[in-house]
């Protein structure tokens, strides 16, 4: 998780959990693996979803929870997923 974050420790854990819930909700295909589920390579799944989000919102695709990515994650939004669902 620490490799995904570009923020101070305390906020970073909050951001990490916020991001994890967001990606599970909006970037997990039906029947797809929820992040945090036991999957072969955990980080890979989260990095992949962060990149999907960054692509959708036309952000720089870093695979990291940088500021602009966290800004999007914190914005009020519609509850319908962004990926085919």
């Amino acid at each position: 998780a620490s490799s995904l974050l570009a923020a101070a420790p305390r906020t970073s854990w909050n951001n990490y959990h916020l991001a994890q819930a967001y990606l599970n909700k909006y970037y997990t295909k039906e029947g797809g693996h929820q992040i945090g589920e036991l999957v072969a390579r955990r980080g890979n799944s989260m990095v992949k979803k962060i990149k999907e989000l960054q692509t959708f919102f036309n952000l720089q695709v870093t695979g990291k929870l940088d500021k602009s990515t966290m800004d999007v994650i914190k914005r009020p939004r519609c509850g319908v997923p962004d990926v085919a669902n």
Partner: protein
């Protein structure tokens, strides 16, 4: 824009909606208005119309919910997720839920209900999220001013990919939804959607507007919005007629009709199949009651039916071909009304005065001349 996988869409063009649970942060009337305007944003771009019902199951069930509300997509309290909607389909399909933990508003001091509802109804009609930041279907909240709202181009392209453009009025070129800022109400190429007597007045309906006039007084004719006098009808009335001796009038939209006494609606919408239409008839183009015969003529495409108002049933041996039975009246009938032994047929820009006794057309004028143009 994006569509949902499998591109689900509604197979009919008149959809019912019902607001089953309200929020405490706005008055019910404000919620009704915001929902109506949000639906109108879409119906102005595609040939869909929305009929409000106040009981039973509707295609689009709308409700304000809190937390886990039984659809396995629980809400999360203030901010975060604001609302969600389901793609077109039976049961849950089309249903739209708003998080009641949010502060909803008609303005900007909270989340603007019109803005969120218009977005969610995009889902309910078959649109997924768009990655175009200027699109209404962009996933994150961005306030939209309800009055004077125009659907962004990306959303118009998306919704018209599913349902095609709204029927061009009399062959007008279809263009992305750009409603006339100053509609030319005297556009001589225009026709009327419906015409009827109502008490002592003659009413002419077109799109979202209607005109009222005295029969023998062609002055002082002024347009009003249909929603101002007939909120349930909203816009695009298909047909209307009055049975004066009963003091009742009938207004048709898609497969539904309403009964009124004057401007007072008498209960919820009913289905046109009450009159005995075959199921393949989905809408009426025009209707006119003829007092001498006590029959109502319903025009559908290039045919017409005759309904016996006294017996309350459709006459046998119908439908018949309109042009064969009404020689001299050309083209599909858009609207019709009977006055003093004449039937006035409105077809595109022309109004035919038909003498019922002589069974012939006695004059043809411009449709728009009836509203003082």
């Amino acid at each position: 824009y994006r569509l949902f996988p499998g591109e689900p869409k509604w197979k009919k063009n008149t959809l019912t909606y019902r607001i089953s649970k309200y929020t405490s942060s706005m008055t019910p009337a404000e919620v009704d208005k915001a929902v109506e305007m949000a639906l109108q944003a879409w119906s102005s771009a595609v040939p869909l119309s929305f009929v409000r019902v106040n009981s039973g199951e509707a295609d689009i069930m709308i409700s304000f919910e809190t937390g886990d509300h039984g659809d396995s997509y629980p809400f999360d309290g203030p901010r975060g997720t604001l609302a969600h909607a389901f793609a077109p389909g039976e049961g849950l399909g089309g249903d739209t839920h708003f998080d009641n933990a949010e502060k909803w508003t008609m303005g900007t001091n909270g989340f603007n209900l019109f803005t969120v509802a218009a977005h969610e109804f995009g889902h309910a009609l078959g649109l997924a999220h768009s990655s175009d930041p200027s699109a209404l279907m962009y996933p994150t909240y961005k306030y939209q001013r309800p009055y004077g709202f125009h659907l962004p181009k990306d959303d118009v392209k998306g919704i018209q990919a599913l349902y095609g453009p709204r029927k061009p009025f009399l062959g007008k070129p279809t263009s992305p939804h750009t409603p006339p800022h100053h509609p030319d109400l005297c556009d001589s190429t225009s026709s009327f959607d419906a015409v009827t007597m109502l008490g002592k007045e003659l009413l002419f309906f077109r799109d979202r507007i209607f005109w009222r006039r005295q029969v023998h007084l062609p002055s002082g004719i002024r347009p009003s919005t249909i929603t101002s006098s007939f909120p349930q009808l909203m816009s695009n009335v298909d047909a209307a007629y009055e049975v004066a001796e009963r003091g009742t009038a009938y207004f048709f939209k898609g497969p539904h009709y309403w009964i009124t006494r004057g401007f007072q609606m008498q209960g919820p919408p009913r289905t046109i199949y009450d009159f005995g239409f075959p199921r393949y008839v989905q809408r009426i183009d025009a209707a006119v009651y003829v007092p001498d015969t006590q029959k109502t003529l319903f025009f559908v495409g290039d045919e017409y039916y005759s309904y016996d108002e006294r017996k309350g049933k459709m006459e046998k041996d119908y439908p018949k071909n309109t042009e064969e039975e009404f020689p001299g009246v050309n083209g599909q009938i858009d609207a019709a009304v009977e006055l003093n032994g004449y039937i006035y047929f409105f077809s595109g820009p022309k109004a035919y005065k038909y003498d019922v006794e002589k069974e012939d057309v006695v004059s043809v004028v411009k449709s728009s001349s009836w509203i003082g143009c």
